[in-house]
């Protein structure tokens, strides 16, 4: 069980990436899968800073990685705004370039990369995002 807390700043993203990378190292994902997990984590943490906290320096991100023989479970906790991802419509990128609205790929990537994702806002004001990737 790997667990660490990072300040909710964009500078933390590289450190979180390092941290998760070390944690998932032992499970032996192929290079591309390991990389894609880091993309998902980066997207989720960016969203916490940008959307849950509404900006940098408003609170921490707690990250834990549960590694078993054939899967990793990554949990991200923050104390920002609660959020229900099911309310976010899927973006449509199959439009001409000039009509492209340049946002909204983060949740798409998280969902496509991870095998399971679950978002919960607890009564005591904690948001818990759990993401599982199987080998």
């Amino acid at each position: 069980m790997y667990k660490a807390t990072f300040p909710g700043r964009f500078k933390s993203l590289a450190e979180i990436s390092e941290f998760v990378s070390r944690a998932i190292n032992e499970i032996g994902f192929d290079e591309t899968t390991a990389y894609m997990i880091l993309v998902a984590v980066d997207e989720a943490c960016t969203n916490i800073i940008e959307h849950a906290y509404g900006g940098e320096g408003q609170g921490d991100i707690q990250c834990s990685c549960d590694v078993t023989e054939d899967l990793v479970k990554i949990t991200l906790r923050d104390r920002g705004e609660p959020f229900d991802p099911t309310t976010v419509p899927e973006p449509d990128f199959s439009v001409p370039l000039q009509e492209l609205n340049c946002r909204g790929a983060g949740l798409v990537l998280i969902q496509k990369i991870m095998d399971e994702t679950n978002f919960e806002s607890t009564p005591d004001g904690e948001n818990v995002l759990t993401m599982i990737k199987r080998k």
Binding site: A14, T32, Y35, D42, T46, L100
Partner: protein
Amino acid sequence: MDISTKQFRRCDLVKAEGRIDSNTAPEVRDAFEAITEDGRFRIVFDMSEVTFISSVGVWVLLETQKTCKRYNRGDLVIANVNEKIQHTLDLAGLLTFFRIYDDVLEAVGSF
């Protein structure tokens, strides 16, 4: 992050090194804007030394691409995109917005 730019006769070459995430994407945007605000819209982005890109980085590329392609005045093409980054663009459904070249020479020669 390390970003270098080089102006050729028909296009500009931008090379970034390292991670392009929410923290560093603004620097990449600045490098592109320095070129487009100078009235040049044919850009080659050399990704050989880019180790990571998040959607925020991809959006910087796409905002630049919009600027470049407006009025048919140019194009942002990418060179040396590794498989992982290519896969990211593909998964996000954004790969089709870029011309991708195997190397910088091909990319510069395409303009």
